[in-house]
Amino acid sequence: MSVETTAVAKKSLFTPFNLIATVILIAGLVVTVMRFTGGLGAVTNLDQNNPWGIWIGFDLLCGVALAAGGYTTSAACYLFGLKKYHAGVRPAILTAFLGYALVVFALGYDVGRPWRLPYPIFVQQGTTSLLFEVGLCVMLYLTVLFIEFTPALFEWLGMRKIRNIVVKMTLALTILGVVLSTLHQSSLGALFTIAPSKLHPLWYSQYLPVFFFVSSICAGMSMVIFEGTLSHKPMHHLMDKEYLDNHDGLILGFGKAASLVLFGYFAIKLIGLAYDNNWHYLTTGFGAWYLVEMLGFVALPSFLYAVGVRDRNLTVIRWAAGLTVLGIVVNRFNISLVAFNYQLPAAQRYFPSWGEITISLFVVTLGVVVFRFISTRMPIFYEHPDYKGEH
């Protein structure tokens, strides 16, 4: 296996992916230097009215939602007893772990004094803040994800004893993971409940935490399908029979679940609209955009998923997954950027700068590169030959 891997790596050193990745990484490093020498003002379009830009809206909110595949897959496999999803757990855990690690990494750019990030937990606790809860949960969950990931690492390193100890803790870790995910996925939505005057009524709701939690489940499952599709071609030679045999079943199963959860999400969003009696906003410009989000990025993928599962058409399911992933990004952008500060005159609204976009691309690229590095070396898409059928 390793001979084969190195051969492939050597052959593909100057691929378009590697060239583009190198350019983005270098540009990212340049902006990094600018950020830490000139301050946020030098590289971002943030101002006194718009304190949060895409580093929060995309890197944090979308990053955390799209890394939800970790807890949804491990819960389906270990808690709900859907053993056939087992082959999908490791890629999902690795994606989630890297996702969260990059969220924290990206926060280092956004917060003013990144080395103080442990302060809210270890120096002075602001327990009345939902951000405190987010911080605490993300820190704990990152630890849980790391431990959940370590069996692959220990198998790679040949450390059998400690690997077996960690595997024994799977159930406890999975439950802890779901608890922590429920809390911080919902708290990210709850962050905005403090600002009813700034967020457009169509997006503001007391149910925001529930909306965020439920949509994170859709995001997680769609991301597993989406990412499985993306890694299928470049990683195919690494995938073992179990992974490939179960992959289509996993797509169908998650597609079915995602269709239902999206439908449920659509229903509770409707309930939220009715609860606050916001129907009259639907005829405004924001209302049109809200309808685009609800019909195009929630109802449509829910329907596509259902059709895809009925016809056992994996292509349709994959398109539905892509649409849902895009929909999550649209929703998180709407809440943190588009519908936020909706009362400000257009001239004072925020639009990301090139520096901000560069860093966001930089973070994503870093994630893909590290994912490739790990998944081409460690038993992620295949079972380690020494531990076959031991789960």
Binding site: Q48, N49, L79, Q125, T128, G135, I175, T193, I194, K198
Partner: protein, 351 residues
């Protein structure tokens, strides 16, 4: 399967109920303290001289602004507070002619910034001021997101030690027994410093005395749970750039529901998920046992049937062989007897 679905539904219902129910549990109050102080601003008295801005700049030792502080042309464009300016005066064109309005931190009774801060960098002081401690600030700017009045400002150009900047109600001066800089300097007594309930009484008296001159509303008495700075105006507050749709719920009330749901999720989720795990495991075990039993039964039945068949076959075979023996015997007997008869026959023929 049914049981599992039911448990899931139960959990989901419980969680959503817990998440949205606004309750005071799990939250704390920041004020008001009994002798909380504040300032009353009367827009009908303000002449837009910017003396308060100048005083603020001086007593807080803020950097010099781009345009001189006595330059009144800056009033032509609407401004907001920033990292170099804790207070600004804006001019608004209304039906009653130009009206000036001062703006600074309103020092809420239940400050959104203090509620939102995850390191408790903001503190509601007993004398009413909301102060900020840069020594613990991480620079997340959630205070700026949370503030309904968009007051906190940030030092975006500071690479490594940025601070949040906002009016302190001259907390250090208050501790020395002095007035806030702006209040002391105001030439028209548009600003009155005092105990908050005293200020509300003064405001009400002015409205009662001149009902035609004032709008019958003390802005800040109830907005966002009440503020230490309060406002009187002769024109509707929206016309002088103040939002009247903020509601009376304080920031901690707005987030009390989600915060109260946290311990419930921590308490209920492991039980629920453990239950789902146990049920699914039990289902798997039952299914497995049933499969094993079915296989066993099938094998047993097959065995019994085979034995029965064998038995029958054997019986049949025995019968058949018996019959065959009988037939054979009969045949043999017949055959044995036949030659004799033949012999007898031939004998007869011969004889």
């Amino acid at each position: 399967m049914l049981r599992r679905t039911f448990l899931g539904l139960l959990g989901a219902a419980g969680a959503s109920a817990a998440l949205v129910k606004p309750t005071q549990a799990g939250n704390k109050h920041f004020g008001p303290h009994p002798d909380t102080h504040g300032v009353l601003f009367d827009a009908t008295r303000c002449i837009g001289c910017r003396q308060c801005e100048q005083a603020c700049n001086e007593v807080n030792e803020l950097p010099a602004p781009d345009k001189p502080l006595d330059d009144l042309t800056v009033l032509d464009t609407e401004r907001r507070t920033d990292e170099k300016t804790y207070t600004v005066v804006n001019k608004y064109q209304t039906a009653l002619g130009p009206v000036f309005r001062k703006m600074q931190c309103n020092h809420c009774l239940e400050p959104a910034c203090a509620s939102a801060c995850f390191v408790r960098a903001f503190k509601k002081q007993p004398n009413g001021a909301v102060t900020y401690d840069a020594s613990v600030c991480v620079g997340c700017r959630y205070c700026m997101v949370a503030c309904p009045f968009s007051i906190p400002a940030y030092e975006y150009d500071e690479p490594l030690t940025p601070r949040v900047r906002k009016c302190t109600m001259c907390y250090p001066r208050l501790m020395e027994g002095k007035l806030p800089g702006c209040v002391e300097r105001c030439p028209k007594e548009a600003l009155v410093f005092g105990k908050r309930d005293e200020l509300i009484r003064i405001a009400r008296e002015r409205i009662a005395q001149y009902p035609d001159k004032y709008v019958d509303h003390v802005y800040g008495e109830h907005e966002m749970g009440g503020t230490s700075w309060m406002y009187l105006s002769g024109v509707p507050f929206t016309e002088i750039g103040m939002r009247e749709d903020l509601g009376t719920a304080s920031a901690p009330e707005l987030t009390a529901g989600p915060l109260a749901a946290v311990p419930m999720v921590v308490g209920l989720w492991p039980v629920l998920l453990g239950g789902i795990y146990a049920v699914s495991k039990r289902n798997a075990k039952v299914a497995n046992d049933e499969r094993v039993k079915a296989v066993k039964d099938a094998l047993k039945r097959a065995g019994e049937e085979a034995e029965k068949k064998l038995h029958e076959e054997l019986g049949k075979a025995e019968q058949a062989s018996q019959r065959r023996i009988e037939v054979e015997v009969k045949k043999a007997v017949e055959e044995a007897l036949a030659p004799k008869e033949e012999d007898a026959g031939s004998n007869e023929e011969e004889s």
